[in-house]
Symmetry: C2
Subunit: 281 residues, 2 copies
């Protein structure tokens, strides 16, 4: 194993947009690992094998993970938690476990319950598609993407290997604590998602999508995201998310008041502030 | 003049992202019109001439419009209204007047005040950039864009020529009444703009732009739009816009309540509704 290819065999459980893209990216590496895939959907197992994204895709996940140095679960949040509990038992102490779920504390709890806390390094790649399934996967999905890595202190040596794993795909790994991560996501990801739904719901009473310009289209794109996927995530809704929604409601009402009062100085000041923020990094 | 090139000489007043792109597009046509430009900014006049976007760019707009079959004002809203009043006097009854401002009723009033109501066909291309200036212009900005065309009944024969003008650039013209247009824009364009500002302002208290994934980035992109440009537009804020902001505030608060009550069925139902809407046209 070269330092930039830290795992010889990688099993990917779930071959949708996230897992399928990971399989394609790994299989596209010059001297990449052996990639074994699994999906509960037979068509996706067949498509991934046929298109060379995986070298094999057995019908049972237990078979797919046997002999893997790294197992990455790429499933919706609840399914990820269920699989993690099973994986703790089904894999040896050599196997590193990871996942790409967009919340980390619930997965961490599942891993801990399965007794595999020292073998897990959770990942959350800040990328994705509002389309789903293997047909929405693409080899460059992770290129340039920030990937949050979450692990127990006990998993120390595995963290460096997970970082190397993501770097080999052109991603930008960074470590964070599970609770800090989930609080950050509530504001950085879940809040914009629900605001897009709320905005689309208001706009839907007056306009159709084809009447929108690029701005209106940008602002409602997320409103097409998968309801089931988000239901899983929002079951763990944090006070930061509901607090953000209430702050947004107050601010939207305030802007309406300002417009009605003709206080354009205040509106311009708000726009200057956000323009400045958006140019920071 | 071939039917798809209905004007022999076109003057463009304003050479920013919108006007500069229009000049580039027209000058790039196989047998396009003579394009004369004007900008209050000398650097933009020079850049547009040097880069072949216009055949000439005199320092005074009166000179630029002399002999033009079509004058397109591509300036912020207030400047557009001012120029329109002057253009009514400075041009002959043969000259067709247009503009690309994103509200049409204020421009229509200015044209009417100048006595040129039968010569004006206002345009609103549903495209643009959150960057500004000639350096942000590009020849394909209007390709595929919907362009709302607004005119008095008296301007009938000119409307068809304006439609042909936009079609030659690959845009999709459609006629609409000025007030209907402005009401539509309040919801389709101004509401998403302000929601992006409000959302960014809330998020700015917790995260920086580089902590966002593609969704959060989409939802805050508009928050970098030009405050001065929008101030002009929001001076004409309609009840539809303030009503939309209040409806959004109510809905955001309601979603926070649902999350706190754990009513995920209702959240999923909202997401299904907006997903369905976004797939309609």
């Amino acid at each position: 194993m070269s330092p930039d290819q830290p795992f010889a065999t990688v099993a990917i459980l779930g071959l949708g947009a996230m897992g399928g893209s990971l399989a394609r990216a790994l299989s596209g590496l010059a001297s990449g690992p052996t990639v074994v895939g699994w999906s509960p959907i037979e068509d996706e197992r067949n498509a991934a094998t046929r298109q060379g994204a995986v070298s094999s895709a057995p019908p049972e996940w237990q078979e797919a993970v046997s002999g893997a140095d790294l197992v990455v679960v790429a499933a919706p949040l609840q399914a990820t938690c269920h699989l993690m509990a099973g994986l703790a038992e089904a894999t040896s102490s050599e196997t590193t476990l990871s996942d790409v779920a967009s919340l980390k504390a619930p997965v961490e709890r599942a891993v801990e319950g399965g007794g595999a806390r020292a073998r897990w390094v959770g990942s959350h790649p800040m990328t994705g598609s509002h389309e789903s399934g293997f047909s929405a996967s693409r080899a460059d999905l992770y290129r340039g993407a920030k990937v949050w890595c979450v692990a127990h202190a006990d998993a120390d040596s595995r963290v460096a290997r997970l970082h190397a794993f993501w770097k080999a795909l052109g991603a930008r790994p960074a470590s964070i604590d599970a609770d800090d991560h989930d609080r950050l996501m509530a504001v950085a990801s879940h809040l914009p998602q629900l605001v897009s739904n709320v905005l689309a719901n208001v706009m839907a009473q007056h306009v159709s999508p084809d009447q929108l310009g690029p701005g209106g289209t940008d602002m409602t794109r997320l409103s097409a995201s998968g309801p089931e996927l988000w239901r899983d995530i929002l079951e763990h809704a944090s006070p930061e998310l509901t607090g953000g929604l209430r702050a947004l409601a107050d601010e939207a009402r305030h802007v309406a008041d300002l417009l009605e009062a003709g206080d354009l100085d205040a509106i311009e000041e708000l726009m200057r502030r956000t323009k400045l923020w958006s140019s920071t990094s």
